[in-house]
């Protein structure tokens, strides 16, 4: 007596709910670990498969009463004696008692200080960008409704057979059969049985005749009233619902002139990388424009932007000009949310500053929802750079400009979070 069952078709991810609970519980530690991990990695690895993280086990331990390892007397029986005789003394090996006596009391059989596991890329990014939203994504534009999703919307009397709603249909059929008094099968059988009995016994011919007539009537009726009538049939109805997609364009500006060392570039790269992942993740429709500049500015593709080398002087205003040009050409203000992020070491030719301020105040900032400026590199804290001073003036009057300094890799993420955490007063509509 055996039953062989194929369970492979069962829904997968039976443990998913438990896993999510676990992650929720470990959130704080996981976030810290994720942050450390992001500080240590190259730009490209961010898109890896997943991420192995270790989190401290406190708060995740499952305590139970167990015997401690450092008190009392124990005896261990071990296999594989080579030369020991009774009375021999063995120096205590590293890591506690004689190897074999590890108690089986601990349910997870591991040290209690570190817990290692792998988070998937999605989980990683979810944690990574949790609670972040592009600020003030308010100008929702419905121009690009890029797909219609089907939504259940009641029942209809026509449709494709695959959408047949059996429950509804049978309910209608049943109520119709009851209403029209379609004779039940049991009733017909009952009659037949009785007729049968009467025919055999030959008693009560009158009753027999009446019964036969009734049976004929009833069968006729049953034939007239169908079991399922087209009128009963109901289909699930679906309605296509437009899913609005808010579009955003993000301009990434970076200084790639000689004064930017590889190290600084690396920091800037990281910042944009984060941004890029973040946007890809949060918004369905985001265009990204990369503009790099020395004393001339050009729009480039991502690869060039991050990985090719340039030398030259430093002028910021051309980059702003270029951004404005691209925006005018391709991203009309009324249907795009415009964001900009700029990374630079703060170098700028002093003569260019007034122009930069004017540009920012009059054209760029009025257009953008948000302009994040991060200054990378090891400038001393007391000496504000040229560009910083210029932007600082602007920022006082225009809150959409946000500025932060980043010096080390591990500061990138906190700064990023800092910049993109929705402010309480303005609930970012993400």
């Amino acid at each position: 007596m055996v039953n062989i069952v194929d369970r492979r078709l069962n829904p997968k991810d039976k443990s998913l709910a438990n896993r999510q609970r676990f992650l929720r519980r470990a959130k704080r530690q996981v976030l810290d670990a994720v942050r450390d991990a992001s500080a240590k990695r190259g730009v490209k690895d961010m898109r890896g498969e997943g991420e192995q993280i270790s989190i401290p086990a406190d708060g995740l331990g499952e305590p139970s009463f167990r015997k401690g390892g450092d008190t009392g007397v124990r005896e261990h029986v071990l296999p594989g004696n080579k030369e020991y005789r009774v009375g021999d003394v063995i120096p205590r090996p590293e890591g506690g008692g004689g190897g074999g006596g590890r108690s089986e009391g601990s349910p997870d059989g591991e040290g209690q200080d570190e817990f290692q596991f792998v988070v998937s890329r999605d989980e990683f990014l979810d944690l990574f960008f949790e609670n972040l939203a592009l600020p003030d994504l308010v100008k929702k534009d419905m121009k690009k409704t890029e797909r219609f999703a089907n939504q259940r919307a009641g029942y209809s009397v026509s449709g494709s057979p695959s959408n047949l709603n059996l429950t509804r249909t049978m309910r209608n059929s049943l109520s119709r059969r009851i209403a029209l008094r379609r004779p039940k099968r049991e009733h017909l059988r009952e009659l037949e049985r009785e007729i049968d009995g009467l025919e055999r016994s030959g008693k009560e011919p009158q009753r027999l005749r009446a019964l036969i007539e009734e049976l004929e009537r009833e069968t006729h009726r049953a034939r007239q009233i169908p079991w399922i009538d087209p009128i009963d049939i109901r289909y699930n109805r679906f309605e296509p619902v437009p899913r609005p997609v808010s579009q955003a364009v993000m301009f990434c500006l970076m200084d790639v002139s000689g004064s930017m060392t590889e190290d600084m570039k690396d920091l800037a790269k990281r910042f944009f990388m984060l941004l890029y992942l973040f946007l890809e993740r949060r918004y369905r429709h985001v265009d990204v424009v990369f503009i790099r500049h020395t004393h001339i500015a050009q729009e480039v593709d991502e690869e060039t932007f991050f990985y090719s080398r340039e030398t030259g002087g430093t002028l910021v205003s051309p980059a702003l000009d270029e951004m404005y040009r691209v925006q005018r050409d391709r991203y009309p203000e009324e249907s795009w949310n415009i964001y900009a992020a700029q990374a630079s070491d703060g170098d700028n030719t002093p003569a260019d500053n007034p122009r930069v301020i004017k540009m920012m105040r009059e054209t760029i900032l009025p257009l953008t929802q948000y302009f994040a400026y991060i200054e990378v590199g090891g400038q001393s804290l007391h000496m504000a750079s040229d560009l910083w001073r210029a932007y600082d003036k602007v920022a006082r009057t225009h809150p959409v400009l946000a500025m932060r300094r980043v010096r080390r890799r591990d500061e990138i993420f906190p700064v990023f979070r800092d910049l993109f955490t929705p402010v309480q007063k303005a609930k970012a509509g993400a």
Binding site: V5, K14, S15, G72, R74, L78, G80, G98, D108, V118
Partner: protein, 522 residues
């Protein structure tokens, strides 16, 4: 013999499996198991699963359905990582002590592996579950799946009603006491998990039917309404509360003053689950030994009778050898004694003693040596023993010599370890005693009991850890568990460590007050 006749006798060829072959193999194995080994098994249900599902099954203690809790997610995350990194392989099989007995086989396995797994799990483990005394006393294979179904839905309902956080907190506390939530000695008839569910229904109906809002508003005698000096007598109290009680979860479920009905029921569920798994903890060596012996016997018989070809047999031997390898203590792969190896070797040795005993065997095992019935002797062993008594009874001097066992005395006070017994005439009994003790759960798990409750005063709960050989509790986890315990009890908890022999108090934990008690109406 022609090719055609050969293939008619062979159960299968090549590595691929399909359902027809599984069925044929199962039937062939069943014949050998029932007719030659005389096994008595539950009906079998063999389920084919993928490796992801195997990981899933790991995470909830191998059960096909289980309530939800973050700790299972944690285990899943860890197992998954180990598996992905190739640190650990997956088990070839998981088998569930239920009726019908469910064995999981993985789709990646070759046909030979499937044959091996069917012999091992669907007959070896299955027979053990059905016949071993411990399982017969403590588990209800008929009812377990229904009960887990009830548990899962009950806890889900509680989550809906009282919030996921609250239920999770309660389960955390209950899980911390799980190892001390079992009855170690039978005290009533066989339990029936099906009735459990009905009992819970009945209780709830009764509560609803007899609910009277007035009672809620009657002031309860919170702080010792009437002090009866009689009650001060410890014996009277202990008598009344059924103390000392070693089953902490049971005690809390019945006696904790401030828990609500649903909280008691959740404790009860955790307790039932712990009780269900308790026999498995005590019979690791025997259970695996039994299953390994059965599969070894059956695979050999299949090969002898020409039902599987040489290639399949070689593949089986390769796997079998991997499973029953025992690395020596100085081998980097050594991580304790392998239960498969120990169980299998003792049972094979037993067979030898029954069939071809030496003089020494006759001295050591007068009642079984040379009885010529190894299979009957096996069946008797599987039914009547658990690991500790099994080793005590059947570990022969020859086995100890073969394994070259020796005993090390480890006193935490001393800088060095001392060898106190080896595999020689003087050491056999000592070794056997110590190895058996190593498998005695009562020695592994600290013996903790509720000894007193100060009912008239501040309702302190007083626990005692009876210390054996001076081994104290691990302090940090101990404190955490006490915190959980205090929250469940609702009042402060005190733990004393008392030497089992002299009765001296060797260590006293500070009083732990509840920081977030589970309270009525909270």
């Amino acid at each position: 013999m022609t090719e055609l006749e050969e293939s008619a006798r062979l159960l299968y060829r090549g590595p691929d499996w399909d359902y027809r072959k599984l069925k044929r193999v199962h039937d062939a194995i069943e014949r050998i198991a029932h007719e030659e080994l005389g096994l008595d098994t539950y009906p079998n249900q063999i389920e084919v699963i993928s490796s992801e599902q195997m990981l899933d099954a790991y995470a909830s203690l191998g059960m096909p359905l289980f309530y939800r809790h973050w700790s299972f997610g944690k285990h899943f995350a860890r197992d998954e990582m180990h598996y992905r990194k190739g640190l650990t392989g997956l088990a070839y099989e998981i088998v569930i002590n239920s009726s019908p007995c469910i064995s999981y086989v993985m789709e990646e396995n070759t046909m030979t592996m499937q044959t091996l797994v069917i012999a091992h799990a669907a007959f070896g483990h299955n027979h053990f579950f059905k016949n071993n005394q411990l399982f017969r006393t403590w588990t209800d294979a008929e009812g377990i799946l229904d009960y887990l179904d009830f548990a899962k839905s009950y806890i889900a309902q509680c989550e809906e009603r009282y919030g996921v956080r609250e239920v999770e907190r309660l389960l955390d506390a209950a899980h911390a006491l799980m190892s001390h939530g079992v009855h170690r000695f039978p005290r009533r008839g066989r339990l029936n998990l099906r009735q459990e569910r009905e009992r819970e229904e009945e209780r709830r109906r009764y509560l609803e039917a007899t609910f009277n809002d007035l009672w809620r508003t009657v002031p309860t005698p919170e702080s010792g309404g009437e002090v009866d000096p009689e009650l001060r007598a410890l014996e009277a109290r202990q008598e009344r509360l059924g103390l000392p009680e070693e089953n902490l979860l049971y005690f809390l479920e019945k006696r904790a003053p401030r828990l609500q009905h649903w909280q008691r029921e959740v404790l009860r569920i955790v307790r039932q689950v712990a009780q269900y798994f308790y026999p498995q903890k005590q019979t690791k060596v025997m259970n695996e030994g039994c299953a390994t012996t059965v599969h070894y016997y059956i695979m050999n018989r299949l090969h002898e009778s020409g039902r599987i070809d040489d290639g399949a047999y070689m593949e089986f031997l390769h796997n079998h050898t991997n499973v029953v390898t025992q690395p020596e203590f100085d081998d980097p792969r050594y991580s304790g004694i392998n239960p498969y190896a120990l169980g299998f070797d003792i049972l094979q040795d037993l067979k030898r003693i029954c069939e071809a005993p030496t003089e020494e065997d006759r001295r050591w095992f007068p009642d079984i040596a040379g009885n010529g019935d190894p299979i009957g002797t096996w069946r008797h062993a599987w039914a009547e023993y658990r690991d500790e008594s099994f080793i005590m009874q059947f570990l022969s001097p020859r086995m100890m010599r073969r394994w070259r066992l020796f005993r090390v005395h480890n006193d935490a006070e001393d800088p060095d370890l001392e060898v106190t017994a080896i595999h020689d005439e003087a050491g056999y009994r000592e070794l056997r005693k110590s190895l058996a003790a190593q498998y005695d759960l009562a020695r592994h798990e600290p013996d903790i009991q509720v000894v007193d409750v100060d009912l008239v005063g501040d309702r302190k709960l007083i626990l005692e850890h009876r210390v054996v050989d001076g081994v104290l509790l691990d302090v940090s986890t101990g404190m955490q568990v006490l915190r959980h315990l205090a929250n469940l009890w609702g009042y402060a908890v005190i733990l004393q460590e008392v030497d089992a022999v002299s009765g001296r108090v060797v260590n006293e934990y500070p009083e732990v007050a509840p920081d977030h008690p589970f309270v009525n109406g909270a």
